[in-house]
């Protein structure tokens, strides 16, 4: 595990050290920003609350920003994700319901490979923080399961520019897998009253890695112009599975999203006045 983390850090360092060799920074780099809203199905199980899987639907709002950085001579982009989702689910017998809410932020860096003029392959890593809860409306002293964690993720992306006759479409597929981090979890039969009211919080923050946590986020989008706007339609599949302190938790969602894309130069200055063109990290 340490080797993989070290390799990532060395890769980023070596990439940045090459920055001085060839300057691609003459033309300004724009920020690609998209805000999408969506809805979809959720499947949630947390054995701290119930041994059963709850299913239902949820809403999601997602903001994404991507910009090239100076690292490795403008070959490394920075990507930020802010995701908020809220789900309403019921037990299989439909006699109980639960609400779940999650907020996560991730900051990722990707190295760009250009194997084909229309294709970009991005590989890198991201740091992700997540806060959330699953609240079971029927339970008494174990009504909620709190989620709080920070992860280092492996991330890869493919962006493909497609020309359907005269109509340009940009397809993107991104996959993210948490590698290691820290997470909160009560002990098997420990109440939140004991942790928070009585202060027995020993061992509730744990190291997480592939041995006790597996997650994957598949994100597929298509950008296409409509009039003067660029629309982004997407599908986001998130799978999250943990087995910590004898408590199994799994959250699976399938969301369909739609929103607008904005391409802008955040700080133009003199450099921008000299030219009307700019480079995008995305297109």
């Amino acid at each position: 595990m340490k080797r993989i983390v070290s390799l990532l850090i060395i890769t980023l360092y070596l990439s940045s050290s090459l920055a001085a060799q060839e300057d691609k920074g003459e033309q300004p780099w724009s920020v690609n920003e998209a805000t999408l809203v969506g809805a979809g199905g959720y499947n949630i199980k947390d054995t701290y609350l119930s041994p059963l899987k709850y299913t239902g639907w949820g809403m999601r709002i997602l903001n994404e920003r991507m910009k090239m950085t100076r690292l490795a001579n403008y070959n490394v982009s920075r990507q930020q994700f802010i995701n908020l989702d809220l789900a309403f689910t019921r037990n299989p017998a439909e006699t109980a319901s639960s609400f779940a809410g999650f907020a996560d932020y991730s900051l990722g860096y990707h190295y760009h490979f250009l194997p084909d003029p229309n294709l970009k392959i991005l590989t890198g890593a991201s740091l992700k923080g997540l806060f959330g809860f699953i609240y079971n409306t029927r339970n008494g002293n174990n009504p909620a399961s709190a989620k709080a964690e920070i992860d280092l993720n492996l991330s890869a992306m493919a962006i493909y520019r497609l020309q359907l006759k005269e109509y340009p479409v940009t397809l993107r597929y991104q996959v993210e897998i948490p590698l290691s981090g820290v997470m909160f979890s009560p002990h098997f039969g420990q109440s939140y009253y004991e942790i928070f009211n009585l202060g027995n919080n020993d061992g509730v923050v744990l190291f997480s890695s592939l041995h006790n946590k597996f997650g994957i986020r598949n994100y597929l989008t298509a950008d296409f112009p409509v009039g003067n706007f660029t629309i982004r339609a997407g599908y986001l599949n998130s799978y999250y599975n943990t087995d910590v302190n004898g408590i199994q938790s799994h959250i699976v969602s399938h969301s369909f999203l739609i929103g607008f894309v904005k391409e802008f130069v955040s700080f133009g200055g003199k450099k921008l006045k000299k030219t009307n063109s700019y480079n995008s990290a995305y297109y």
Binding site: N91, P92, T95, A96, N136, N141, A158, F188, L198, N237
Partner: protein, 339 residues
């Protein structure tokens, strides 16, 4: 090269999606499946098997043979309720849309030792109410507080006003009879008003795994004196068998106070912090999950004995007298003579 790799990428993509899709558990009303689910939930999470000397495998053997595929819902519910009652636990219930199974022997088999009608002879109708507490001066020297449920909130300001109201009294009777419990927060909040030094009131444990004896190390519970208005004069706490759960915890704490006497009947117990779970058919189950011990590291699941045992007398009740309140008044009188 690129074209060759596209099918592999697509294969990987589809594999990841298929891997990440999972079918939800389906509803099941099958008696066998629900019996097995309930037995397993209790087997893995219930916390008093050893203390109560319950052989849960034996319970399985005895009840499993009674489960049939053709059982009706109410028959299954009754059977599962009886199985849970083997645990003799007031915190353990099976809850369906049509019934709630319960174990109430901890008070059903004992004298009530409380009557609201007789209490009215003392409280009258002109008592005051602050938060969940009713209070009144029974004489110029004795204050009386009745707290009927730890589910009814009592704020710090409520307690300030109540104790200030009794500032000229020599003693208080704090009646928690028929209080079936509620929030432990109020137990601490109220008890802290009668405390002069920080004390250890008990310990809490939680299960760390599915084994019957998989418990954490006992975690010390301490109580710190309130920084607001406190009562450090004599207090008599009245109890009966209905004092359960958070009330049992409160009595445990009050028994440790230097100026407090617990008078009445043994409490009902209920020292397991309850959790909830559920069965595939949608019924909910509540059970004791996390034991709380007293300061001597003993279980109080089956109740706490009073310092002074007093039962209601029939002849007193016929005269409209509350034997416990009368005994408390006499005790206070004797205390005051000593003071």
């Amino acid at each position: 090269m690129m074209k060759k790799s596209i099918p592999y990428c697509l294969f990987l993509l589809v594999s990841l999606w298929l891997f990440s899709c999972e079918k939800a558990d389906e509803y099941s009303s099958a008696p066998r499946e629900n019996f097995e689910a309930l037995w397993k939930i209790m087997d893995e999470h219930y916390c008093f098997f050893e203390y109560k000397d319950v052989d849960w495998n034996d319970v399985y053997a005895r009840y499993s043979v009674q489960v049939t595929d053709t059982m009706k819902q109410d028959q299954l519910f009754k059977l599962l309720g009886e199985m849970l009652n083997e645990l003799k636990d007031g915190h353990t219930n099976l809850i369906s849309s049509f019934d709630i199974s319960r174990y109430w022997k901890w008070y059903e088999d004992y004298p009530a030792n409380f009557s609201e009608d007789i209490q009215e002879n003392y409280l009258g109708t002109d008592y005051m109410i602050a938060g969940g507490m009713k209070y009144k001066k029974l004489s110029k020297d004795v204050g009386y507080i009745y707290y009927g449920s730890f589910s009814n909130a009592v704020g710090e300001t409520n307690l300030d006003y109540i104790l200030m109201y009794f500032k000229d009294c020599k003693a208080i009777i704090l009646d928690v009879r028929d209080n079936g419990g509620g929030s432990l927060t109020f137990s601490d909040r109220i008890a802290a008003r009668f405390l002069d030094n920080k004390i250890t009131t008990g310990y809490i444990l939680h299960k760390t795994g599915t084994g019957h004896n998989d418990f954490s190390k006992p975690y010390e519970l301490t109580l710190i004196p309130s920084e607001r208005v406190r009562w450090l004069r004599p207090v008599v706490v009245l109890t009966n068998r209905h004092c359960f759960s958070a009330t049992n915890d409160f009595v445990n704490k009050m028994k440790m106070m230097p100026h407090t006497t617990v008078l009445g009947d043994r409490t009902g117990g209920g020292s397991g912090f309850p959790f909830n779970s559920e069965l595939p058919n949608g019924w909910s189950v509540r059970f004791s999950a996390s034991p709380m011990l007293n300061a001597a590291m003993e279980h109080t699941e089956f109740g706490i004995d009073p310092d002074v045992k007093v039962n209601m007398l029939t002849e007193d009740m016929q005269r409209g007298k509350d034997t416990l309140i009368e005994a408390a008044l006499q005790l206070i009188e004797r205390m005051n003579i000593k003071i």
